[in-house]
Symmetry: C2
Subunit: 137 residues, 2 copies
DNA sequence: TAGTACAGGATAGTCATTATTATTAAGGAG
DNA sequence: CTCCTTAATAATAATGACTATCCTGTACTA
């Protein structure tokens, strides 16, 4: 919990209970929640927190590069505290979003940059399919 | 123009002037337009066409797999008549979206499927950076 | 050519996100 | 530690992309 506050401060963000709660929650989940989901799951511990605060905090965290925004094709964004660029796997059955840790994409950005003369900063890579759990059903 | 109608019919879609216009426009652009953009650019030739028709047509084309929907992180979707899965390059300066034709990603889906035990159907890959044009400025 | 199912047009509704505004609290200076 | 300034929060209204509705019109089948 302490570290969370430190990270915020290190980025020049004012440290508030709301920001700590949201960032802490994102750091300790593997779920890639949406703003709405974050809001609901913090209702218990922070019942007075406004949904607008969640959005603004996520925006602040995003700009501070403490969080990345995922765009898996749903009607809302999801958020990931693992800010290092990595691909995601989306199960079309249970709608879970999983991190993919692989070195298959290691030099990809560099190679693409060479091929296209683009100056590349980041990439978003999403794979869509059925997760092992759902395949069993 | 004829082929466009044939493609629609082949997919069991009723052939209407509006659908022809929208699909034809998508087939002959490299711009990856949004629904709004499509609507505006067809105003001249089809002034009576409703925005709702654009949305409904795009939905029909998407379901018929004649078009793919892109989600580059803007507040609206873009559409691409090149339905074969291919990566896109987004210029953060001019906001243009470019197709990337490369074989760097050839066996990627297969490898990822093996690594993760997912059954994979598709992927979306976006690279973000500055295009050669904008770099000159 | 007539009938029917489905597409189009107009527009109201929905829902995620953003803007607004008054209030409150964080964090630095003294 | 207390005051002050600035920025964050809460509540809520507004925005804007997209969807639903509903009635009219038209593409296709026989």
């Amino acid at each position: 919990m302490k570290e969370v506050a430190e990270l915020l401060k290190a980025k020049g963000l004012k440290v508030t209970p709301q920001r700590i709660a949201i960032f802490h929650m994102l750091c300790n989940t593997v779920e890639h929640p949406s703003a709405e989901t974050i809001y609901k799951s913090l209702q218990e511990t922070h019942p007075t927190m406004s949904l607008a605060t969640v959005y603004k905090t996520l925006d602040a965290l995003k700009k501070a590069e403490l969080v990345q925004e995922l765009n898996v094709g749903e009607d809302s964004f999801r958020y990931d505290a693992k800010v290092h660029s990595h691909p995601h796997l989306i199960c079309l059955s249970c709608n879970h979003v999983y991190d993919l840790h692989t070195d298959l994409l290691q030099d990809l950005r560099e190679k693409v940059a060479q091929d296209t003369d683009f100056e590349l900063f980041s990439e978003k890579i999403y794979f869509y399919g059925i997760c092992p759990e759902c395949q069993k059903k």
